[in-house]
């Protein structure tokens, strides 16, 4: 579907790329989803809002990525005692967990069979829906432990292994339930939500001008992507254009975030495949980059760098020279490491065929971002919907068709090289001007979205303003939502000891998903 088919009911939506909003009734909600699926649109995110105070109903919204733009489809649910809407998970399977999360937070249900809680683990009562406006978000409840009804797998010799939520290593918490025969995995069921911090509700206590600091902390490893998405939404609502120097510096910071994470993952993947040398070298290169961040942007991790109207710290000429030197070292070291990885029989033996996600499975399930690109899905916002400054950088689409750990490694190597090219291009054309412009306070009840291709994939913020410079609702979405369920498929037929390697090759965010 192209956007002109929806022309009559469509209104423009403030965003950093061509976007529109479409208000539909209950029946059209599903029909629109069908049309969109048919046309190859991708589901970006789905969220709900308590609008009973303003519009006498709950609102459910879904954002879709089309070839030429983004469309947000909204449906106002007038029935408030038992609010519900038709599930779109049959068309977009990634919607299933999002819909379960919407139920936990708002008490709006669907016609899905799977009604198990997703974010609520017994930390608050079943009758309390924290994102409703009449619920006090600060109230604390005692924990009532509730067993989670995992799907049972029966058969001769099948047994279960449960791992987590606390894992052996410095990683985030989540639970993985494997059904195995011998060492072979028959089924994997994930349970997430352990790091749910109530971010959506918290946003309502933040002012428009401070919300970026919470957005940056949705997933710390994607802080630049989230804070930029937030600022893009706010700036689109207020009609502010950032100085080009600030825009270029934001992109530079975003590419540094991509480089740091990719290099960390490349080292981790070597290590998980028994090649500690890879970890030693990549962790060193990553540290070099983080130290350069301190000099160039004022911090190793850029949680407070992108601010409304611009960036917090200017780049000096000295720092710029230092960065250019660093890029040369990184490029030659990474090229060197790539040759070592490519020629290491033991590594390749572990990488190839492991955790394969076939292209058609990835298509069907709605894979997105880096994981999609490693399974042949050519989708990168920087290429397809380039917002400023990417519209003048001609970003190269990196794609691999293998869908295995090896393909995810290759995508990372190629993206490191492309990121370094972008960083150099940004520095070469860095305009001399201010790094900030004042952002005025937006009027209440305005919706805007910001979409940024972070290192994992498209990060999205949907921001709706409240009165007095406040926030009425802010929905933050990490692409891990789409990609977590894919691991359940990628692991099938693999052996349990390969799980850490496969999981690492996805490296999804728990915090970004749990909210």
């Amino acid at each position: 579907m192209s956007t002109d088919m929806m022309e009559p009911q469509r209104t423009r939506l403030p965003a950093n790329m061509p976007s529109s909003r479409l208000r539909v009734d209950r029946e059209q909600w599903l029909r629109t989803a069908e049309d969109l699926r048919e046309s190859g649109a991708r589901l970006l995110t789905l969220w709900g809002t308590d609008d009973r105070d303003r519009d006498s109903g709950f609102r459910i919204a879904a954002a879709y990525l089309l070839t030429d733009s983004v469309v947000v489809v909204e449906h106002l649910i007038k029935e408030t005692s038992a609010p519900s809407y038709p599930s779109i998970a049959g068309l977009f399977p990634a919607a299933l967990r999002m819909q379960r999360a919407v139920h936990d937070l708002l008490g709006i249900s669907t016609d899905e069979v799977d009604t198990r809680n997703w974010l609520r683990h017994g930390g608050w009562p079943e009758t309390v829906f924290p994102l409703r406006r009449d619920v006090d978000g600060n109230r604390q409840y005692p924990i009532v432990s509730e067993p989670y009804p995992y799907v049972e797998v029966e058969g001769d010799g099948v047994h279960e292994i449960s791992v987590g939520p606390v894992h052996a290593g410095t990683i985030e918490p989540g639970n993985f339930r494997f059904s195995v025969v011998g060492e072979k995995v028959l089924r994997l069921e994930e349970r997430l939500g352990y790091t749910h911090k109530g971010i959506a509700k918290l946003f309502e206590n933040f002012s428009q001008e401070a919300g970026h600091s919470l957005a940056a902390r949705v997933s710390g490893d994607s802080a630049v992507a989230f804070s930029w998405a937030y600022c893009s939404a706010l700036e689109a609502i207020t009609g502010i254009t950032c100085p080009m120097r600030a825009v270029a510096l934001r992109a530079l910071a975003l590419e540094h975030e991509r480089l740091a994470n990719h290099m960390g993952d490349l080292g981790g993947l070597g290590n998980d495949a028994g090649f500690a040398f890879g970890l030693t070298h990549f962790s060193r290169l990553k540290e070099d980059l983080l130290r350069a961040n301190s000099v160039a942007f004022g911090a190793r991790y850029l949680l407070d760098y992108v601010i409304p109207g611009g960036v917090a710290v200017d780049l000096t000429a000295d720092a710029s020279r230092l960065l250019l030197e660093l890029y040369d070292t990184l490029e030659s070291s990474v090229t060197n490491m790539r040759a070592i990885y490519d020629n290491h029989a033991g590594l390749q033996d572990r990488f190839r065929e492991a955790g394969r996600l076939e292209q058609n499975t990835a298509e069907k399930l709605g894979a997105i971002g880096l994981i999609g690109r490693a399974s042949g899905i050519a989708c990168d916002l920087r290429v397809d919907h380039p917002w400023s400054p990417y519209n003048s950088l001609a970003v190269k689409m990196i794609v691999q068709t293998g869908g295995d750990v090896a393909a995810r490694v290759q995508v990372r190597f190629d993206e490191v090289v492309e990121s370094l090219r972008l960083c150099r291009a940004l520095l070469a054309e860095l305009p001399i001007e201010a790094i900030q412009t004042p952002v005025s306070i937006a009027a209440a009840n305005l919706l805007g979205i910001g979409l940024i291709e972070g290192w994992r994939g498209p990060v999205m913020i949907a921001l709706e303003t409240g009165p007095d410079g406040g926030i009425r609702r802010c929905h933050a979405h990490d692409p891990s939502w789409q990609n977590w369920p894919l691991i359940d498929y990628a692991i099938l037929g693999n052996i349990v000891p390969d799980f850490p390697l496969i999981n690492k090759s996805f490296n999804l965010s728990y915090s970004g998903h749990d909210g």
Partner: protein, 172 residues
């Protein structure tokens, strides 16, 4: 193989003397000696993410890179709380992690040390207390020391670990 060896030779040894965030923190060798003097063996740390944004994890991971070379100082991360002398907790404590954190703490042998890492662990950070978050680590389990920062630098983390081990030795 040749490539790997030549890369090793060209890179050389990178481990730095312990970065010094303040005068009180001595060099790496002193740290190692202290750890040995106090415990008579390596210091074993168990990390638990009790609900962090994952920023703090990145800096803990950095401790094992060749510049900080934590393991070289006789400090290692262990997979089980039963082997741990020190619990390093990140994040505000989400209600969904409260039970798992308490269980991990209970499973540690006495005497146990706990460090709450980052602004979130120290005081709840931006997440504070809510229906979904208990705020600081200290509101759930006893804490010996906290490290401010969002996230704190590897040097600050290392400094705090040392200080905590030291003062526990003095008390003992």
């Amino acid at each position: 193989m040749f490539n790997t060896l030549s890369r090793m030779l060209h890179t050389g040894l990178l481990t730095e003397p312990l970065p010094v965030p303040n005068e009180a923190i001595p060099a790496l060798e002193t740290l190692q000696k202290d750890v040995l003097g106090i415990l008579g063996r390596a210091l074993c740390i168990r990390h638990v993410d009790a609900g962090s944004c994952n920023g703090c994890e990145l800096e803990i991971q950095a401790l094992t890179n060749p510049y900080y070379n934590l393991e070289g100082a006789g400090i290692k991360f262990v997979a089980s709380p039963r082997h741990a002398d020190l619990l390093l907790v990140t994040g505000p404590v989400s209600v969904n992690m409260e039970e798992a954190l308490k269980r991990t703490y209970d499973a540690m042998p006495d005497p146990k040390l706990v460090i709450a890492l980052g602004d979130c662990g120290a005081c709840g950070g931006v997440f504070a207390k809510s229906y979904a978050s208990r705020g600081s680590v200290a509101s759930v389990i006893p804490v010996n020391n906290t490290i401010a920062g969002c996230p704190p630098s590897p040097a600050a983390i290392l400094g705090c670990i040392l200080q905590t081990v030291r003062s526990s030795a003095v008390e003992a």
